[in-house]
Symmetry: C2
Subunit: 142 residues, 2 copies
DNA sequence: CTCAAATAGTTGACTTTATCAACCTAATCT
DNA sequence: AGATTAGGTTGATAAAGTCAACTATTTGAG
């Protein structure tokens, strides 16, 4: 298994398992919902544009995603006082609850990943990974 | 950066960079083409079904992908002598050339990833990764 | 041997996801 | 002010992925 296969196998495994967990809990959200919830939760004064940059997606797609999530009542938006072009996005109470559930599920999944590994190994994994990312000039980028 | 972020950042970085390289070389192929070329190259007596299992995709999608690649002249197919339901797929000469170019580009990209890392670190990364995959009961799975 | 069940592959119809270009409004820059 | 840039929305369309039905073989239980 070369590096490419390793990396994709990990990502694929994560995707498959978190999808299972999300479906099992019938949260009614898809992959982009998940990423968007996290992005907003972790980004103070989040705007649509911030999400576009963070997730590396087309702004049209993000606009529709946000509209969908607003309709579902997971988000709130109000225009920025500093730049009237910008809409500040935040999680509603139901959005926050959802995101917290996700954090929970992800924590559990991470524990599955990490089973039988020492703290040292985990640190090492992260250290090497971030070296690789630095090599390619990647940012936090989700 | 937690484990999820790390894993997806790596996968995303790989995807973005290989896509760039492929586009830069104007090979005219997309992500599924790439994966399919590799799958066929590495699978003796490859069938559509083998690809479905290897890539974990819907068989309808794979059938259309193969048709497309046959039209483009990258593949050849002939029915199996052992099972007349099966179509054995192989790379044509242009398909082989394409796949070889990809191998080249991927090798270069891997070198970018691995820059400044020792062989020990790389081994360690692979070892830890496969432990994680084993935790989740993953197979080679691409 | 025979017939039901399983397997390989194809196709049609459809949903989801992603992309491109046009556009509006507000901000910024001489 | 007038031109340009940036944030966001929308329409149209392309690409990816999914579901179900169907054909043609093969397998396997009785």
């Amino acid at each position: 298994m070369n590096l490419r296969e390793t990396i994709f196998a990990l990502a694929q495994a994560y995707r498959v398992h978190i999808k299972e967990a999300v479906n099992a809990n019938e949260l009614g959200l898809n992959g982009m919902h998940v990423r968007c919830l996290h992005a907003i939760a972790n980004c103070p004064q989040c705007t649509a544009n911030a999400i576009v940059n963070q997730l590396g997606k087309d702004k049209a797609q993000i606009a529709r995603l946000i509209k969908d999530m607003l309709d579902k009542g997971w988000l709130e938006k109000h225009s920025s006082e500093f730049d009237k072009r910008s809409q500040i996005l935040s999680l509603s109470s139901s959005g926050t609850a959802l995101q917290q559930q996700l954090v929970q599920l992800e924590k559990q999944l991470e524990q599955s990943f990490e089973a039988g590994l020492t703290q040292q190994e985990l640190d090492e994994f992260r250290r090497i990974s971030s070296k690789m990312l630095a090599n390619l000039g990647e940012h936090s980028w989700e």
